[in-house]
Subunit: 198 residues, 2 copies
DNA sequence: TTGCAACTGGGTCACCCGACCCAGTTGTCT
DNA sequence: AGACAACTGGGTCGGGTGACCCAGTTGCAA
């Protein structure tokens, strides 16, 4: 028997749950499937959490905190704004292709949260976080390309999140790389028109 | 006892299932919930369908066939391409606002189909249908505004579907009308750049 | 009007689920 | 070394679910 502090055990279960959801969907993420994935017994589950709902809630909070898959243009070579934007989106796209199941899990989690009034705010928080990250990227991109946003950055960020979401959902369905690159390009063009040279 | 031909009975159950899914999500669409919604007994369900899976499959096929919520620019006043595109997207957005649960149900159905290899093709078909509808709209819009697509229309249509999807998902989460109108505008601008005056 | 097939009411069944429980066992602190 | 709390194995329990079944009932064709 390995002794694990309660906190770590909760974290381990949350990670296991995320793996199960990524692999098989949230509907299959039963307490039994989760503890099997984590190599624990049911008793351990209920020792660490009061209920499955509690774990799912905490899982959502965790993924929001860890959201960082960013469309971050750091370490990207400088260029025009459109170029940087497109490069950022393509970078996110690469991330999506590398781990499609994770993004699918995020999507399911959102849909799941949307279904109950108590959890709806969590979905909002998740997207607020996405917008926040997008905003940071946009600020950096404008800065580095010598541009200036002509609309509130938050608004441009919100558009970027919508476009990114659309790219994700459609690609998950048809897995058409070329089409998604076209979407990335179109999105970058549209966003760049919300800024002008400084 | 009212006698109903088997075909109609199946149709009635499918409609009931769609209502249940729209209202409570696919997870709640149990055979019992569906027959209750349709005002039938469980026996009737299994008289009409071999299994719940069979009904869900048929439901997906049905919604694909009936997809028509189009971004259709019919009966829209003519104008520039951008204007017509934006008007079309806004029109879809109005439709979304009028019946958000329906679009949420569509989203869930897609996610559901994505989760099993046998059903993945159904999700593809659903999106192929969306692209087809979008394509028709784009052709009409270009025609009426005296423009010409400089990329294959199918590609532009695929981009439109992605943007529309993103608009849907983000709006369902934050219900921010203004932000979504900004998305619609940006999307229209991006698409219009794939065409030129004829 | 009769007969039959379409249909349904009201069950049963096996299975899975979340929650819970208790008698141990074993690290760890003193 | 002793004791205590953290932890777990191996259950139970009630409730929900999909599938199924059979004895009726009734619309309708002849």
């Amino acid at each position: 028997m390995t002794r694990i502090p309660a906190g770590e055990r909760r974290a381990a279960l949350i990670e296991a749950a995320l793996r199960v959801i990524s692999r098989n969907g949230i509907a299959q993420a039963t307490t039994r499937a989760i503890v099997a994935e984590a190599g624990m017994s049911l008793a351990s589950f209920h020792y660490a959490f009061d209920s499955r709902d509690e774990l799912i809630d905490e899982l959502i909070v965790t993924v929001i905190e860890h959201a960082r898959h960013a469309v971050m243009p750091d370490d990207l070579v400088d260029g025009t704004l459109v170029e940087m934007l497109e490069a950022g989106i393509v970078r996110y796209f690469d991330h999506l292709r590398a781990d499609p199941e994770h993004e699918q899990a995020m999507l399911e989690l959102t849909q799941y949260a949307l279904r109950s009034p108590e959890r709806h705010p969590m979905a909002r928080a998740q997207y607020a976080r996405y917008v926040e990250l997008a905003e940071q990227s946009l600020v950096v991109a404008a800065e580095r390309s010598g541009s200036e946003w002509t609309v509130p950055v938050a608004q441009a960020a919100r558009v970027l999140v919508a476009f990114t979401d659309g790219l994700t959902l459609t690609w998950l369905v048809d897995r058409d790389d070329d089409a998604s690159l076209a979407v990335a390009h179109a999105a970058a063009v549209a966003l760049s028109r919300m800024a002008e040279p400084r």
